[in-house]
């Protein structure tokens, strides 16, 4: 054969620069191959703890993000009406002077008039600190409209939840059960884990109305009715308890199952724990028959105890649980109708869980010592693991549902044991070890403490003397007492309504609030542009920072253009949303692997500059000069407390604790952009109770002293809110919320129907409507990426076979979809692997004409659509004059997935409805043809 000779060893690149991805929130390590100083190719970093070399479609497409025509180019000042997109470019000095001229008077007189909310921010420990120094109580990031139910339920129950808090023990688990997830939370690690366990024959079960993505590869799929996951989980609890398939030893030692509960309905402490004089929960020692604090050495807490004191009978938490969950209300036959899962399937799943947990228990020969001083020869695992995210939490019953799932894991004894769920440092960290919320604003001074935290009862709510909300988003009020991440989705609506008050400046970062990040998108656009009787905007000033020409840009008065993730410094900090593994603490940086070719600046550096110009404490030195040159300077030199800074690696004097090291960022770059510190083997499991882990965590600076604690099957702070609603205590809820608080803030997991079922007649609106995010896209960002938009350029509404046939749909048809709130007209497609009463579409594919540097006739702008138009941030008015938020009553999480709709077939329109007029693009439109090789 006369074969051509080809070069099989071409030069790959001039240099590899290793940094951290930001194509989604997963934060994988990437190798950026450079040619002629430009980005040529991106691959996963094999040494990185998160992705170990693999990389998803988004990550590999990063080159098209750093080249995207949608990148903003310079600071912008609005010159046309708000919403038009008419801007003029201004200098950074002009931009910052303008911002100071708005913010300085606010700080000096009424700091709460600034509402500063950041979206998909990965620097919340910094942005929160900035807001605290400014003095406004009105700060949060996007957790309130994302997955705070999952996070808060996990923290209150066991000191952490999924994703950043912990992960399945992929190396040992034998049964992995996945409840509704957005497929980028957690992106690559979940795919890697599923691949690993399937390769060794472990079973994967998916519980999700939609069988796509991870659910498509699940060995078994339970196509559950949206909003009923909690009921399914409690039915599993019912079956397992009834069969005695729970880990009694684990429950007695490590949870509050044996803690004694006041059983006197007349007592102001009814439902609270019996405690000793030091405030420690009391248990009955089964050996001596005497009361003892839970942590007393040698105590054998008795799950079956009953104790009478001062005429009041106290029973254990475990007995309360048995009484509730053994009830036939939770029998499979009783829940099959609501959940859409046949009773036989529920029994089969429960039995498989029982079989794997108890017949396939695994033992690691590792000695460890618990917090009571008892040494255990082995570590015994119940190799059943779970993962869940927004699918179960973005409902108005999401907090209790997420609680139920955490309780199920604990009953099995599979949390922090081999084969189960494992925390990642700095978790486990119970609610009591977190700060409480702070909200006291003083003109010209910082806030009295960090904004966000974990309340323990009514005393910790953020209320004024007259009981009205302190915060613009009404976080930490009786409407949603445990709103640990704030309620970003209510900020614009409340500010527009002047409820609880009006603000002066809305300052947002990376949050596409006039489009896919808001409920009631059309309404939000109207609120942002609404004027008062004087013709002034109701929300007087809006500052926005984004790297790209998103829909939100047009609705701001001042744009502070951010860099892309390859052009900036960042830190992925242990103080924030870390990237640790179950076996290691880790943090990471981003650094400018290329310099911006536009007049843009990293937002965090801009915020420091702005802080210095405003003279904010901590951002200026004694002489009033800027303390930090930029964000990189802050990352290295800022100390949150002595020896603890944003990065834990390579501090002077050691890892974790130590003085700032001027070479710290260089050391990170040399190490591939990250730092990792492994947990000793004997400390790797039982972390909340393992003395070796606690000591390791103190040494690293995660805690200041060992903090062993019990898992909270029964969450006493919830009961404190119920007690208030029952009339006990000084701080009382408003009358209209009493019954709801009694019903929903139950200290043991419950299930109640999603609130939407109460106002959208299930007969008139019989269909559940959901969105999912495709694995290859992240929020609205993917569409500006020339490669990714070819994967997901359209988003039909997928209909199950039953609805498809009932309405006589055929390929190419369109449907009108209506909720109690609105109507959209959209293209439809058939999908068989779908819950028969559920329709869904890909999230955030639909685009506003003029945004993202796309052609106005791009399919995303022509046929793409948002379900957001059908979802309101408020529940329908009840005639009581009150604005009821469409959120979880415990945490305030946006109840996106409660949505009910009806559909009808309609003639195809020329584009999806509603259609909005184009916005003027500040960056023009992208080029037609792309064909290049970098370096040639």
């Amino acid at each position: 054969m006369n074969q051509p000779r080809i070069d099989t060893s071409p030069k790959v690149s001039d240099e590899v620069r290793r940094t951290t991805c930001y194509m989604c929130a997963c934060r994988c390590g990437i190798n950026v191959h450079m040619k002629d100083g430009r980005v040529a190719y991106i691959e996963g970093n094999r040494d990185h703890p998160v992705n170990k070399g693999v990389l998803c479609a988004k990550g590999s497409a990063g080159i098209m993000q750093v080249n995207a025509p949608s990148r903003l180019r310079a600071p912008l000042k609005r010159v046309g009406p708000r919403g038009s997109g008419a801007f003029e470019e201004i200098s950074w000095d002009e931009a910052l002077d303008l911002a100071v001229s708005w913010l300085k008077p606010i700080r000096d007189t009424a700091p709460e008039k600034l509402a500063f909310f950041t979206g998909r921010d990965q620097s919340q420990s910094f942005t929160g600190w900035w807001a605290q120094q400014f003095g406004t109580p009105n700060f949060a990031a996007h957790g309130g409209f994302c997955s705070v139910n999952m996070a808060a339920a996990g923290i209150y129950t066991m000191g952490g939840a999924f994703w950043e808090f912990g992960q399945p023990d992929w190396d040992h688990t034998k049964l992995f059960i996945l409840f509704g997830v957005a497929e980028d939370h957690d992106s690559n690690p979940i795919k890697m884990g599923i691949g690993e366990i399937k390769a060794r024959g472990a079973r994967v079960v998916g519980v999700n109305p939609i069988r796509s993505g991870y659910n498509a590869v699940a060995d078994d799929w339970l196509g559950i009715t949206p909003g009923t996951d909690g009921l399914l989980i409690l039915s599993l609890v019912h079956l397992l308890l009834k069969a005695g398939k729970v880990d009694l030893d684990y429950l007695a030692r490590f949870t509050n199952a044996p803690v004694l509960v006041n059983g006197d309905p007349k007592s102001p402490e009814h439902g609270l724990f019996l405690r000793d004089d030091d405030g420690k929960e009391l248990v009955m020692d089964r050996a001596s028959g005497k009361l003892a604090p839970f942590d007393q050495p040698g105590v054998r807490p008795d799950l079956a105890a009953r104790h009478r004191r001062a005429g009041i009978t106290h029973r254990t938490v475990f007995q309360h649980m048995a009484e509730r969950y053994l009830d036939d209300r939770y029998a499979p036959e009783a829940v099959a109708g609501e959940t859409g899962i046949p009773a036989k399937k529920i029994r089969a799943l429960a039995a498989e869980i029982a079989r794997v947990a108890f017949d396939e228990a695994i033992t690691l020969e590792r000695e460890w010592t618990d917090f009571r001083g008892e040494t255990h020869k082995v570590m015994t695992g119940r190799p059943v693991s779970f993962h869940a995210m927004r699918g179960i939490s973005a409902h108005s019953n999401g907090f209790q549902t997420a609680r139920a799932l955490h309780v199920l894991q604990i009953l099995l004894g599979s949390v922090e044991t081999p084969g189960g769920f494992r925390f990642k440092p700095p978790y486990p960290k119970p609610a009591t070890a977190h700060p409480k919320p702070h909200c006291k604003a003083t003109p010209g001074a910082p806030l009295d403490g960090p904004h966000l935290g974990y309340v323990q009862g009514p005393d910790d709510l953020c209320l004024t003397a007259d009981g009205s909300p302190v915060r613009i988003d009404k976080a930490y009020t009786w409407e949603n007492p445990m709103s640990a991440h704030g309620l970003m989705h209510m900020v614009i609506s409340n500010a527009h309504a002047g409820d609880p008050y009006r603000i002066d400046t809305l300052f947002m970062y990376m949050a596409n609030m006039s489009w896919n990040s808001s409920m009631n998108t059309g309404g939000v656009m109207q609120m942002l542009t609404d004027t008062d009787d004087n013709g002034d905007y109701v929300i007087p000033r809006i500052i926005y920072s984004d790297a790209y020409s998103s829909e939100m840009v047009a609705y701001a008065d001042l744009i502070l253009p951010d860099t892309t993730y390859l052009e900036r410094h960042d830190c992925i900090s242990l103080l924030d949303r870390p990237i640790c593994e179950a076996d290691a603490a880790a943090d990471a940086i981003r650094w400018p692997v290329v310099q911006p070719d536009r007049d843009v600046r990293g937002f965090q550096s801009v915020l420091l500059d702005l802080g210095a110009r405003l003279g904010l404490p901590g951002m200026v030195d004694e002489g009033g000069a800027a303390k930090y040159a930029d964000y990189a300077d802050y990352i290295v030199n800022h100390e949150r407390k002595p020896g603890i800074g944003p990065l834990a690696g390579w501090r002077t004097g050691g890892d974790g604790r130590g003085a700032p090291n001027p070479r710290q960022i260089d050391r990170y770059i040399e190490n591939g952009g990250f730092w990792v510190s492994h947990i000793p083997d004997a400390a790797a499991y039982y972390k909340p109770w393992n003395a070796a882990y606690q000591d390791w965590a103190v040494k690293l600076g995660l805690f200041d002293s060992p903090q062993p604690y019990l898992f909270q099957l029964y969450v006493e702070p919830l009961r404190r809110f119920q007690l208030a609603a029952e009339g006990h205590g000084e701080r009382q809820p408003p009358e209209h919320l009493r019954e709801r608080i009694k019903a929903t803030l139950d200290p043991l997991p419950i299930w109640y129907a999603p609130f939407e079922d109460g106002h959208a007649d299930p007969v008139e609106y019989p269909i559940h409507a959901l969105t999912q995010r495709p694995m290859a896209m992240y929020h609205s960002w993917g569409t500006q990426n020339a490669w990714l938009r070819q994967l997901h350029g359209v988003n039909p509404l997928y209909l199950p076979t039953k609805l498809w046939q009932a309405h006589g749909f055929a390929d190419g048809d369109w449907a009108q979809v209506s909720s109690v709130h609105g109507t959209i007209t959209v293209p439809v497609a058939h999908m068989a692997a779908l819950n028969e009463n559920t329709v869904w579409t890909w999230n955030a594919i639909g685009k506003r004409k003029g945004a993202w540097a796309l052609d106005e006739n791009a399919p995303e702008a022509r046929k793409g659509f948002l379900l957001n138009h059908l979802i309101h941030e408020l529940l329908p008015a009840r005639g009581d004059g009150l604005r009821w938020s469409n959120s979880d009553p415990v945490t305030g999480q946006a109840a996106w997935f409660d949505l009910r709709v009806k559909i009808e077939k309609v003639p195809p329109p020329d584009r999806s409805q509603p259609a909005y007029p184009p916005i003027k693009s500040p960056v023009g439109q992208g080029p037609g043809t792309l064909a290049w090789k970098v370096g040639e």
């Binding site: 054969m1 051509p4 080809i6 070069d7 099989t8 060893s9 790959v12 190719y41 691959e43 070399g53 998803c56 479609a57 988004k58 590999s60 497409a61 992106s187 690559n188 795919k191 599923i194 691949g195 399937k198 079960v205 069988r211 796509s212 991870y214 498509a216 590869v217 060995d219 196509g223 308890l241 009834k242 069969a243 005695g244 398939k245 009694l248 007695a252 089964r286 050996a287 799950l303 079956a304 007995q319 048995a322 089969a348 799943l349 039995a351 029982a354 079989r355 694995m775 290859a776 020339a786 490669w787 990714l788 070819q790 052609d855 791009a858 439109q925 037609g928 064909a931 290049w932 090789k933």
Partner: protein, 253 residues
């Protein structure tokens, strides 16, 4: 008309696990990135930000639904690229000899300098695995990353196709399918790997591992004993609890 080699020294190819492919498109984009920068002309995109974006890809993922007569429907993600067939019709149909199958490893390549962009090979391929680049007007196809797998400028562990290196779910495997002892051959044997559209007689080197049977959890009742109630009623449950606690290590028994 171009001839195929009588045999090849090795049969390098991919084994793609349809049981674990989650359809994430990581392989698609990693391939696009590597092959834009490397072998032959860049993979172009036309109307990249417009109404009809269309680009060249050497690897795409399709999704198919399977509705069994009984029970729930399934979704199968199906990555597809050149299968480097032993009896490759795309090679024999090539009028210029641009398409060829390498003797040393069986990789099917297009010599772009000889390609006239006639498209006959794409028409002959029963898998639709070749794409004519709209800008360069040459035929593009999977090279099995021939410029990675032997590349001495890469660390040895990286000498595998970009799609295999990046696959998060570990659903893609690379090796010599001509060697029955190789990891990939062993995997094919163990998992019942199949030829795609074997009836076409193309003898593809790439193999697909079929999805394992799904939805068998409640097929049989062997699990029922695991849910045998310990007793009936709350009082009975407490009695059981008492006995069970006594039976724990350190209990009375």
């Amino acid at each position: 008309m171009t001839t195929l080699p009588q045999s090849t020294d090795r049969k390098l190819g991919l084994v793609i696990d349809l049981d674990t492919c989650v359809g994430c498109h990581a392989c698609v984009i990693s391939c696009k990135g590597w092959n834009t920068e490397n072998y032959g002309a860049p993979l172009s995109d036309t109307d990249a930000y417009g109404a009809n974006p269309s680009g060249t890809f050497l690897n795409r993922v399709h999704s198919y639904e399977v509705q069994p007569p009984e029970g729930t429907a399934q979704l199968v993600h199906f990555p597809k690229s050149c299968l480097h067939c032993e009896n490759a019709p795309c090679v024999t149909v090539c009028p210029t000899g641009a398409s060829y199958k390498r003797v040393e490893d069986g990789i099917v390549l297009v010599n772009e300098s000889d390609c006239i962009g006639c498209g006959l090979c794409a028409w002959a391929c029963p898998y639709g695995a070749r794409e004519l680049d709209a800008v360069e007007q040459v035929m593009k196809k999977c090279t099995l990353c021939v410029d990675r797998i032997y590349n001495e400028n890469l660390p040895e562990e990286d000498r595998e196709p970009a799609c295999v290196r990046t696959c998060p779910a570990g659903a893609r495997h690379f090796g010599d399918l001509g060697d029955p002892e190789s990891d990939v051959s062993q995997l094919v044997a163990a998992r019942g790997g199949v030829d795609l559209m074997a009836e076409q007689g193309t003898q593809p080197v790439n193999k697909y591992l079929p999805p394992r049977p799904r939805d068998r959890l409640d097929d049989v009742d062997v699990l029922a004993p695991y849910l045998e109630p310990v007793t009936t009623g709350p009082q009975g449950f407490l009695g059981w609890l008492d006995r069970a606690l006594d039976a724990l290590p350190g209990g009375k028994e």
